[in-house]
């Protein structure tokens, strides 16, 4: 039996904003199950007194002068957008206006 259920695969796909067909769901259920079982190896180690390594380098605050630097020109920032009007990125509608939101 796989370590994760088909329902869990569907739930995680929803969180990850991915749409999977039936074949992909079945494949991922099996592959993720195998990989997660392999990861269970970590439970062999007692880590109750170990601090998690949250950062690659134990640096504290990195400060810089609070002044404006160079930034991208609007034209350059918009250039690669799939849809834009010269001032804004354009996206499909976000709010359902009929409901009077």
């Amino acid at each position: 039996m796989s370590k994760i259920t088909r329902e869990q695969v569907e739930y995680v796909a929803g969180l990850a904003q991915l749409e999977l067909d039936d074949a992909a769901k079945a494949r991922l259920q099996q592959e993720m199950g195998e990989i997660l079982s392999y990861m269970d190896k970590l439970n062999e180690l007692d880590t109750s007194n170990v601090e998690p390594m949250m950062h690659a380098m134990e640096m504290t605050n990195v400060f810089r002068e609070d002044c404006a630097g160079e930034s991208l020109a609007r034209e350059a920032a918009l250039r690669d957008a799939p849809q834009q009007d010269g001032e804004y990125f354009i996206v499909p509608k976000i709010l359902d206006t009929e409901g009077g939101a």
């Binding site: 992909a24 993720m32 970590l42 998690p52 690659a56």
Partner: protein, 488 residues
């Protein structure tokens, strides 16, 4: 005399600065070489002949004016698709970034240009640097120059193949779990992953931000030192870059390793290592012993857990980093989306390949409510244990030696059906990234199959000098020259 495309960056730079050859002549030799052999190798995703010649002309013009164009004068360089360049496209070998033109250059691109380098084009990779064979590229399949039926390794497969096939002097790669060192091993070149924080990541498309580092591929250790002299250093645009002095790494190439303590981790020389690779690595250790290194056995008990830790941390970070490809600001947007949610979902589902989707799924799972502590937090704790193992080992030795890869290059398709099997290709390289250490792979002979073998060295963080010194000493005294791969 050998053709210019067979030469190293230090040879070319000194010839160009000494006016023995023009940068244009050198660039032309490399462009001709690409035209002649890349049809077989498929390392390049884009070649920039006009741009390369214009850069070379600028180098020549500086020399004519009596100025010094820099330590890489006229040296032709190839760039991994994951590094942002204003020139050409930056696609990460993914459909989601097809046609993407970065509005800025990565910091390292600016630094290399300022040192007189000439950029030839971009190099193929596994999509978003996820893979160990470059088979996950959405653009093309790069072949190993030593055997066109075999993979070049990955994820920087194009960068390794291009150096190996004399299609550039130095190439740039990125290494999150071995993506520079493993392909360098499989293609028979030198590959360095510097210490985390040593090289600016500004302009490197992020895969796993606590593990990613940029580094060079080269034909010899001297070129690696030269490249690191240019690449390393603090960058205000990357807050994680280290504010530490950068020594002249070429000064480390003394040839003298007398008294150097070389650590052999017993966990890396088990039966999991193929017999032929073991024999080659042991022979490399003998060479260093003869040069005065003292070999000590060290123990890295948490190393057995590195692969599990790595695939939790890298997928978790990737799932967060790749959320930015939402079809709004750049890249592909699915044309049929009716609302914003549908735009996100259809865009990602249509344009991310299977391995990228698998890692986003795994990463989302290990970060999700109810599993965060069991997987992600647990992995961060074991990551500390791995780092502490290395800290302890480095009280007993100055450098650690291991194989780079359990096997030489494998055939196309032989590991694609089983993701875990593919992940095991990086078993010797991933701990370096988890512990933030510098690591280097260099060739240590050819196997009976005619494929290159590689040996890996690691040192303490920010001690790239010792890393290069050991590698250079081996290179000078091994008596091994691979020769040229049997293409064209």
């Amino acid at each position: 005399m050998a053709a210019w495309h067979e030469k190293t960056a230090h040879e070319i730079s000194s010839a160009v600065r000494g006016k023995q050859v023009s940068a244009v002549e050198v660039a032309t030799s490399f462009l001709d070489r690409i035209a002649a052999v890349d049809g077989n190798v498929d390392a390049y995703t884009q070649v920039w002949p006009e741009y390369a010649l214009a850069q070379a002309q600028a180098v020549d013009a500086k020399i004519a004016r009596g100025e010094d164009p820099g330590i890489l004068s006229g040296a032709p360089i190839g760039i991994k698709e994951v590094i942002c360049t204003e020139q050409g496209y930056t696609t990460c070998s993914s459909k989601i970034l097809e046609g993407y033109q970065s509005p800025y250059d990565a910091t390292i691109i600016k630094k290399l240009a300022a040192a007189g380098a000439v950029f030839l084009g971009k190099l193929n990779m596994d999509e978003f640097a996820m893979g160990s064979s470059t088979e996950n590229s959405a653009i093309k399949t790069t072949k190993n120059p030593w055997n066109l039926k075999c993979v070049p390794g990955g994820s920087s497969g194009g960068s390794a193949a291009a150096v190996s096939a004399d299609m550039c002097t130095i190439s740039l790669g990125s290494d999150t779990g071995g993506s520079i060192r493993q392909p360098a091993c499989l293609c028979g070149c030198v590959g360095v992953k510097p210490t985390y924080g040593r090289v600016s990541r500004f302009g490197l498309v992020a895969f796993a931000s606590s593990l990613d580092q940029i580094g060079p591929f080269s034909k010899d250790v001297e070129d690696a030192a030269l490249a690191l002299n240019v690449l390393c250093g603090k960058d205000p645009m990357d807050a994680t870059s280290a504010d530490l002095p950068v020594p002249d790494f070429t000064q480390a190439l003394t040839g003298d390793i007398k008294g150097l303590r070389l650590g052999m981790p017993k966990q890396c020389f088990t039966e999991a290592l193929g017999a032929e690779m073991r024999e080659k690595v042991m022979a490399a250790i003998e060479v260093l012993k003869k040069q005065g290194a003292e070999v000590v056995e060290v123990s890295l008990p948490a190393l057995d857990y590195a692969l599990a830790v790595y695939y939790i941390i890298c997928t978790a970070e990737a799932s967060a980093n790749l959320a930015r490809f939402d079809g709004v600001r750049y890249g592909f947007r699915h044309p049929e989306a009716k609302d914003v949610r549908e735009m996100y979902v259809k865009t990602k589902s249509a344009a991310f390949g299977p391995e990228v989707q698998r890692r986003i799924m795994l990463g989302t799972y290990v970060l999700s409510s109810g599993y965060y502590d069991a997987y992600y937090l647990k992995a961060q704790k074991v990551r500390r244990l791995i780092k502490e193992d290395f800290d302890r080992a480095f009280t007993q030795c100055d450098a650690i030696v291991t194989p780079t890869s359990p096997t030489p290059a494998f055939e196309f398709g032989s590991k694609t059906a089983d993701p875990l099997e593919m992940y095991l290709s990086d078993i010797y390289t991933i701990a370096t990234n988890l512990a933030t250490l510098p690591g280097l792979s260099l060739p240590c002979g050819l196997c009976a199959s005619g494929l290159p073998a590689g040996v890996q060295f690691m040192t303490k963080p920010f001690d790239e000098s010792t890393l290069l010194r050991v590698a250079h000493c081996y290179e000078k005294n091994s008596g091994i020259t691979l020769g040229k791969p049997p293409i064209a």
